[in-house]
Each structure stands twice: as C-alpha cells, then as structure tokens.
C-alpha cells in the first residue's frame, strides 16, 4: 500500500533504509523523516536570517540587544530546546529497539569472515547456512553477531540498523520482517579487497515455511 508513493519519491530499492519492511527500520525511517523536516525548517530560518542581514535601512540597535537576541535567545535558548527534544525522542526510539526478552523470540547466530557469513540456528542445532539467513516473518529475531577474523558489520537495511561483528565479542541485534520475502544484507565495515561483494540475503518465511526450514526441507 505504502509502496507507490515511496516509489514516486525514489525511496524503494533492495537496500533502502527509507523503504522499511520491519518495525525497527520503520521506527528509524520515521525518525529520519521527522529530523529531515526539522532540519529543513532550521536551515530555512538560518538562510532567511542571513539574507535579511543584507537588507538596507534596518533599525539600528545597541550591542546589548544584539547579544540578548542572537546569543542568549537563538544561540543558547533555541539550540538547547531543539536538541533536548530531539535527544529525548532519539533515546526513546533507541530503547524501543533494544532486544528485550519476549515469548516468541527466535535466536540465530551470525559469524562473519572475509568474505562470507555463516548462520546458525538455536532451534536447529547443527544446521549452518552460508550467506543466507533464514528467519520467520512477523517474529522478533535476535541475531548474535561475531567475527572469525577482522571487524565486520551485520546490516539488513530494510529490517534494522547495523551492528558490528568484532572478534572476541558477541553483539546481539534484534531484527524482524513484517512479511515473508527476501531482503538484501550487507557487510558494513570496510574489511579489505572483497568488501564491495561481501553481501548476504535474509529469507523471511511464513510459519509453515519456517517449520519446513527447521526440519531441513528447504535449502
């Protein structure tokens, strides 16, 4: 439904963060649009004030007036108000995206190496897939991310933000796909010569398809 206007605005694309297909990416995309509108308004204000400085026949004021208006009013007051509001909404959004315990959470493991990914599944011990991550659609998935060699980053732009794969550490990222489908994944930390082609795919299954995958019936 939302795809048509998005396509007109040039938002769609296999790797587009502004064409979200899951709750985390949607929250962040909304945050982006709000910030964009705010930034355009602020930029317009500053540009207007700059242009107005070239007007002739302005009323002359003393330095004290200028200091009060420009530095205390706009510099301190205006900046702080905007930033406080933005910071609060950002922190709340961030808290919402944290991997909180939930009943139907699925656990998977992602290990990066130059230049491939291997994925393991808590619900199917021993099952390992290369460069394709299978998840159930409509359920939160916690991806435990680590690296076998250098620093990488796990990123599925249409589903969620990215999180680094760091040797010796395990980071957990919550992703979720609204609907079954295939979503492009990228390694997003420069890692040498194969970097540009270091990609993977996330396949989100419906409930039946997920069970079939766990039973080993799909590749």
């Amino acid at each position: 439904m939302g795809a048509t206007p998005l396509a007109l605005a040039g938002c769609d694309g296999p790797l587009s963060t502004v064409d979200p297909a899951g709750p985390a990416a949607r929250t962040i995309a909304t945050l982006w649009w709000v910030m964009l509108v705010g930034a355009v308004l602020i930029f317009g204000l500053v540009a207007g004030l700059l242009a107005a400085a070239f007007r002739r026949g302005r009323q002359t004021r003393d330095d004290r007036w200028h200091e009060r208006v420009w530095i205390v009013g706009l510099g301190l007051g205006f900046s702080m108000a905007i930033l406080a509001a933005l910071l609060a909404s950002g922190l709340m959004a961030g808290e919402r995206l944290m991997p909180r315990p939930a009943a139907d959470t699925v656990g998977v493991r992602a290990e990066a190496r130059r230049w491939s990914w291997s994925f393991g599944y808590d619900a199917a011990p021993g099952r390992v897939t290369e460069d394709v991550l299978h998840i159930p659609a409509g359920r939160p998935v916690d991806v435990a991310i680590t690296s076998a060699d250098v620093v990488h980053s796990f990123w599925v732009p249409r589903l969620a933000g990215k999180l680094d794969a760091i040797p010796g550490h395990v980071n957990v990222l919550r992703i979720e796909a609204d609907h079954p489908g295939t979503y492009g994944g990228l390694t997003a930390e420069y890692n040498g010569e194969g970097y540009a082609r270091h990609r993977f795919v996330v396949v989100a299954h419906d409930a039946a398809g997920w069970q079939a995958f766990l039973r080993g019936e799909t590749e």
Binding site: S79, E189, G192
Partner: protein, 827 residues
C-alpha cells in the same frame, strides 16, 4: 634615525639567507609559515586528484577503472592526506605566519622549533607520497581498524607507512601546538591583556591545547599497532588478551577532537574576517571565546559516537549521544553570534564574504546532519554509508575549506603587498559552491538507499546510478573551481600591481606591518590598550616604524623581542632569539632516519639515529645561553627588563610544561589502555602475573625521588651562589638506580609476546625507562653547563626545566611500578 635606515639595520639582523638557500636555514616565522602553506596546498592538490580518481571510479556502475587493491589505497590516502597533510598543516602554516603579527611581536617563542616542525612535516609527507607513487600506500581506511591492519591481515609495508609516516608528521603538530601555547600566552605586545587579544589567537590557543591532548592517544595507538606488527606484542588480538576495540577508542579519542581541531582555526578566521567585511566588531567576544573553550571540552566527551554500532550498552550510548548533541550548542552560539555581527554591521559582498556565505550554507547543513547522526538509532542505519561521507564533507569542506579560502583572499594583500587584478576568484567561488553541493547533497540520499562508503563498485540495479553520476560530474566542476583559485593566487602573486596598506580597513595589528611584512615585523613594538589597536589610530604604523614603541633601539646586533605576563600583558622579560641555522633541518633529517629505520626494518640503524638525535639535541640546547651575566636591559619607553635566561620561568620552562602536558596525556592513554584491556578484553586474566619485587619497587621509587630532590637542591645551591653540581650528582645517581630497576622489570615481564598483559607492562616499563634515560641525560647536561660557567645565581633558567622533567619522571615511575606490581601482590 629615519624609518628607512632603521628598516635596513633591522633587516640586516633579521633577514634569512638570500635565495633558495634561505629555505634550509631560515627560522623566521614569516618564511616558515609561507613554506607550510605552500606545502599544505600542494598536498591539497594531491588529495584532490585522489578524490577525482575516486569519483571517476564511482561515476558508473560495475566500473573497471581501477581494481579494489588500488581503490583501497585511493580512499585511504585521500582521507589521510586531507586530514594530516592538508588541514592540520594549513592551520599550522596560517597561525605561524599570522600570530606574531597579530600579537604585536617579532617571532614565535621557539624559531628553530618552527623550522624543525616544518621539516618533520616535509620529510614525513614525503614518505607518504613515496608510498603513493610506488603503489604501496596504506589501504586500511584512514582510521586503520585492526585486526584488518594487523600483521595477519595486512602483512605488507603499506600499513607501516601510515603508522610511522603519520606519527612523524604529528611531531610537527605537537611542536607547533607547544609553540603556539607559549607564544600566545607570553609573546604579545605590552599592554595586550588576555581580553584584548585578537579573537584568532584565542581560537589558536584553544586548538593548540586540543592538539596537545588529542594527538597523544593516536600516537600511542600507532606505536602499539606498529609494535604488534613489527615485534609480535599482541595488543589488538582477541585470542591473546588484546582487543581491537582498544584501537577504536584510542583512535576516536583523537579523531573526534580532530574534527574540532580543524574547525576551530577556521572559526577563528570567520570571527576575524566577517566583522571587517561588515564594517563592525565581533558580536559577543566573550561569548565566542567561551563557546570555543566549551567546544574544546565537550569534544573530548563524544568520541564514542563513532562507535555507536560496536555493541556498547545503550545507557552508555545515551551519555555520548547527549554529549554529541550538546556540542551543537556552543557551535550554535558561534553561528548566531556571526549572523548577529552581520545584522549589527553592513555586510558587503566582497570575495572573502562570498566564501563566508558558502561556509554558512554548507556548515549549517553539515551541522544539522551531524545532529542527526548523533541520534543513536539513526546512526545505526547511517553509519558507514555514503550519508556519513556526505556529512563529513559538509562539515570539513564547509567548516574548513570555505573559511580558509575566505582567509586566503583576505590576507593575500598582506602576503604579497599587491591588490587583486584579475577577477577569477568570483567565478571560481561559483564553480566551487555549485560543484560541492552537486557532489555531496544527493550523496546523503544514496547513503540512505544503502550505498556503503568505501565500495569500489556497485550494481546497476541498486538504484544509485544517476546520483553517482551527478556526484562525479559535480566533483569535476568543483575541481575546476579550486584550480581557478590556484591560478588566481599565482597570477596575483606574480603580476598584480602594488596595493595600499590595510586595504580592508581592519583594526588588528597584522595590518600595521609593511605589506609584505619585513622579517622583523615591527621596527618597534606597540603598546596595546584596546582590542583593535589600528582602529581610529591611522598613524600607528608610522610611529612604530620611527621607533617610538618598545625595543626601538636599532643598534643591537641580536634578534630580540619581549614577553608579557600571561594574563595582564605587563612586560616581563627580554628574549634574544637564535638566528639562521641548518640545525632544524639536520635534526629533522636524523629524526626521519630513525623513523625510516623502523619502516624498512633496518634495526641496526635505529640506535645510530637515536644517538644522532641526542647529539644534535644536545648541541641545540648548548648553543643557547651565555657565560656571563647580562643584567636588566633597557627596552625603551623608560622600561628595563631582565633577559629570559636570568629568570625562573623562561620560555623553555613554559614549553616544557606544555610538552609534558601532552606527554602526560600519552601516559594516561597507556594506563587507560591497560585498564580497558583488563576489564573489556575477552582473554583475561593472563596466565600469570608479574612476580612482585619489593626491592625493585623500593629502588625505583627511591631512585626517582632522589633524582627529583637532588635537582631541587642543585637549583637552590645555584641561587645562593653555591656550585649546584653536588645536588645534581645525587639526582643523577638516583635516576640511574631507577633506570636499573626499570630495566630489571622489563626483563622480568612474563611472556610479552604471549599475552597483552605482558606486552602492556613491557611498553609501560619501556616508556618509564626512556624517560629515566632522558632525565639522566639532562642532569649530565646541566652538570656540564655548570662546569663550563653557563650558570650563575642570575643565569638560573635551566635548573627549573630539568626539575620539571625530574618531577614528571617521579610521577610516571611511581605509577608504572605500582600498576606493574600490584596485581601480583593482590592475586
């Protein structure tokens, strides 16, 4: 004596050697400043060519212009050159050239150090250029994350060029920062109290203090990574007790302040040029200074915002997110103070003003996207995409290149004494402005569509083709504009007609000098009683040229200036400068030999180079000073001041204090690294702790305390007419004992190649041992000075300097020994 004869006399004393030979022996700030600027703009050109190659590669999908092994060098070197070989040196060059003129004095505090810094930059930059020409340039990205840049995944020499070459270049930044701090605080015209200082000097002071505290973490990181690569001591390998995150912390502890180190000098240019363009004074001088200081403090609290995706707990991120948004407040204060300045005055659309408007538009947009990426969830999407590339170019090009271009066009008449003739500059500005926004505006969007930074190719069906093509074409338009600026400046320099003095009708002191300025700047030094001494006093240049200020006596044969008390601006003492010498270039060359021996792993050369540095350093210090008392000297206007060698707080003492501040940051970063690995790295605790030894601890602590006390006793002995060398001999013996204790510690460190714990202890003990040897050398030096009659109760300045080093040694040795022995004692 008339002004012309005075000029000739002073020129004879101050002039560099004629012709190109002068380049190698000059220590004059005007010369070295010009050399810095010429070299840094050469590197701007090189970095720009690399940028064009990057844009050529990305112009079309599936491009086969260069392969990844070349492309990776291109973007790594583009970032590295622009940051380390263009932006920082441009600030150094501009400040070296301008500061003494603005502050109303004749040179910077340490002229030979100015020159040494330049040659370190020149040789270090040459190393980087060499690697680029031969296709063995660094290719790990300009922030060089290990383990990718570690010995396992980057075995070639490429990474070593970065770690060693950039560390070499950073010496020049540290030298300049020390020198600026001392010069701004002490080398000003009499009467210029801190609140009357030109605003640019405030910005340069804040920037210099940031360099002193921001660069040491990176230097430490580079040393550790190079030691890991060359000698196998693990610091960043998770399975051996290291952690790659340590590098990220050290790098961004430097890297974020670095952004403000680049922006603040440019803001200083804006604060200086903008009011002149608007025929008024800067609105809210005190507020702007406070904002710059606040920015400096805050910028050290937000390095983690480059690490939002590394899995740090969300509450931790919240703190850094708050700090990152808060930093926009002092930036906002400055921007609105500038707009208020425009409203207060009558802005005129002359060429520098055009670039300032370019700055406003570009930098405000960069600031707004900066606030966006400071918001953690958004950064999770934007991080490492073209969005961030676009953001950082808006901040750095907007916040540095536009202001610097404004500054270049503003000070060009001062540099050359000519006025603009060809009107290429306006066209160039239009091309640069349009080209820049065409290159980078849509790049935000392509980042949100999923284009990562640092990829050398992309598929046609990704939907990025049109934007990349526009970016590339616009990039070439911008390049043409920048090339036109270069042509404009060269034409101006060569063919334009002579211009009037102070063409902008500015009020600051650099316009008091002749254009172009003579080697001595001012024939006599002004007495300053307001912030804009030239405003409303058009006769000031003539009066100073006639010798009516301080130090107007033209019969001296040495280069002299005077210093003031830091806050009040009351005259304090007389300074006699060293003259033309090739010592700086020789010392820089031997320093380069040291770095080169490490780079090409010819280790038998290393001790020879170290000995060479020590010998030249000895000569450097020895050639200063006198074997007889000079006593207070008449400096004109009825004032008489002692020479700097006959005071307790000489320029050398101040320089040492600032250098030790940087050094302490280095040491603090090392302790931070130790604590960080202990608490965060996976493979801890280590298999075994160091066997504690009370004897070693006692000898080490006792030794450095004796070293400190002995040096103090010597200083007191000298002041009361005694010899002073007996105290120094006790001090030297103490230092030697401490060095022995540290050597045994280094030998006893368990398995330095097997675990980060042992590796860290080895570096810690090595650092302390190095300082013990250095302090011992200084104590020997001072004993030799006493024996040769270079000291007297009056000539006492060298004692407190050695005292500072001995005290610093005490602190670091005690701390190092305690953190080395404590775990074994407790465990």
């Amino acid at each position: 004596m008339n002004a012309l004869r005075r000029h000739r006399k002073l020129t004879r004393v101050w002039a560099s050697e004629p012709g190109w030979r002068g380049w190698f022996s000059t220590v004059n700030h005007t010369d070295v400043g010009r050399m810095f600027l010429a070299t840094s703009f050469f590197f701007f050109l090189v970095g720009g060519v690399l940028a064009m190659l990057i844009r050529a590669q990305l112009a079309t999908p599936d491009s086969a212009f260069v392969g990844p092994e070349v492309y990776n060098q291109l973007f790594t070197m583009h970032g590295t050159i622009m940051m380390f070989l263009f932006a920082i040196p441009t600030f150094e060059g501009l400040a070296i050239y301008l500061l003494p003129k603005m502050l109303g004095t004749r040179d910077l505090a340490f002229p030979r150090l100015t020159s040494y810094g330049y040659w370190c930059y020149f040789f270090g930059g040459g190393m980087m250029l060499f690697s680029l020409l031969f296709g063995i340039a660094p290719d790990g990205g300009w922030f060089m994350y290990p383990p990718l840049t570690g010995p396992l995944y980057s075995p070639g020499i490429n990474t070593d060029f970065w770690l060693i070459g950039i560390t070499f270049v950073e010496i020049s930044a540290i030298c300049a920062a020390v020198e600026f701090c001392v010069s701004i605080l002490r080398y000003r015209a009499p009467g210029m109290s801190l609140d009357k200082m030109p605003i640019f000097a405030w910005y340069a002071l804040v920037t210099s203090l940031m360099i002193l505290t921001g660069f040491p973490p990176l230097i430490l990181g580079s040393v550790l990574l190079e030691v890991e690569r060359a000698f196998g001591l693990p610091f960043f390998q998770a399975d051996l007790g290291g952690d790659s995150l340590l590098w990220q912390h050290l790098f961004w502890l430097f890297g974020h302040p670095e952004v403000y180190i680049i922006f603040l000098p440019a803001a200083g240019v804006i604060s200086t040029v903008l009011p002149v363009m608007c025929r008024t004074t800067l609105l809210g001088y005190g507020w702007v200074v406070a904002a710059a200081v606040a920015l400096a403090f805050l910028s050290f609290g937000l390095w983690v915002h480059h690490m939002f995706t590394t899995g740090i707990p969300h509450m931790g991120l919240a703190f850094f997110s708050a700090a990152s948004t808060l930093v926009a407040v002092p930036t906002g204060v400055q921007v609105f103070a500038w707009i208020g300045t425009m409203w207060k005055g009558q802005p005129q659309l002359r060429l520098p003003m055009l670039h300032i408007l370019g700055f406003f538009v570009t930098f405000v947009m960069g600031g707004l996207t900066g606030v966006m990426v400071a918001i953690v969830p958004f950064d999770w999407q934007a991080h490492d995409t073209a969005f961030v590339t676009a953001h950082l170019h808006y901040v750095l090009f907007g916040g540095f290149v536009f202001p610097i271009l404004a500054g270049i066009y503003y000070w060009l008449p001062l540099f050359t004494g000519r006025k603009r003739f060809f009107r290429l500059g306006e066209w160039a500005f239009a091309l640069i402005f349009v080209g820049f926004h065409g290159t980078f505006l849509a790049m935000h969007w392509v980042g949100l569509l999923g284009q990562r930074r640092r990829i050398e190719t992309y598929d046609a069906d990704a939907g990025w083709t049109a934007i990349n093509f526009v970016s590339s074409v616009s990039g070439f338009i911008m390049a043409i504009g920048l090339a036109m600026v270069l042509i404009d400046v060269l034409l101006h320099w060569v063919v334009a007609v002579r211009g009037e003095r102070n063409p902008w009708h500015a009020g600051s002191l650099e316009w008091v000098t002749m254009n172009p300025p003579p080697a001595y700047n001012f024939a006599s030094l002004p007495h300053v009683d307001k912030r804009e001494p030239l405003a409303g006093d058009p006769d000031l240049p003539v009066r100073l040229a006639k010798g009516e200020g301080y130090l107007g006596d033209p019969f001296v044969t040495w280069r002299e200036t005077l210093t003031v008390e830091a806050a009040s601006g009351r005259p304090d003492y007389l300074v006699i400068y060293p003259t033309n010498t090739r010592l700086p270039i020789a010392l820089a060359a031997v320093t380069g030999l040291f770095f080169l021996s490490l780079l090409i792993k010819v280790y038998w050369l290393t001790p020879i180079a170290v000995f060479g540095v020590a010998a030249l350093g000895w000569w450097w210090v020895w050639s200063q000073g006198r074997q007889s008392d000079l006593g207070p000297q008449d400096v004109g206007r009825g004032l008489s001041l002692p020479p700097s060698g006959e005071t307790d707080r000489s320029p050398g003492w101040w320089g040492t204090a600032f250098l030790l501040a940087a050094n302490a940051t280095f040491f603090g970063s090392l302790i931070f690294g130790y604590a960080f690995l202990w608490t965060v790295a996976p493979a801890w605790p280590p298999p075994e702790w160091l066997e504690p030894s009370l004897l070693e601890l006692g000898l080490g602590v006792g030794g450095v305390v004796a070293g400190s006390v002995g040096t103090r006793v010597a200083a007191r002995g000298n002041r009361t007419g005694g010899a002073g060398s007996s105290g120094l001999l006790i001090g030297l013996a103490g230092t030697v004992v401490a060095a022995a204790a540290l050597s045994t510690l280094m030998l006893r460190v368990p398995a330095p190649g097997g675990h980060a714990y042992g590796a860290t202890l080895l570096v810690l003990a090595g650092y302390a041992l190095f300082h013990a040897l250095l302090t011992g050398l200084m104590q020997v030096f001072l004993i030799a000075r006493i024996r040769r009659g270079y000291t007297s109760p009056r000539r006492r300045a060298e004692f407190p300097i050695v005292g500072l080093w001995a005290d610093y040694l005490t602190v670091i040795v005690v701390l190092s020994l305690v953190v080395a022995h404590l775990p074994g004692m407790l465990g």
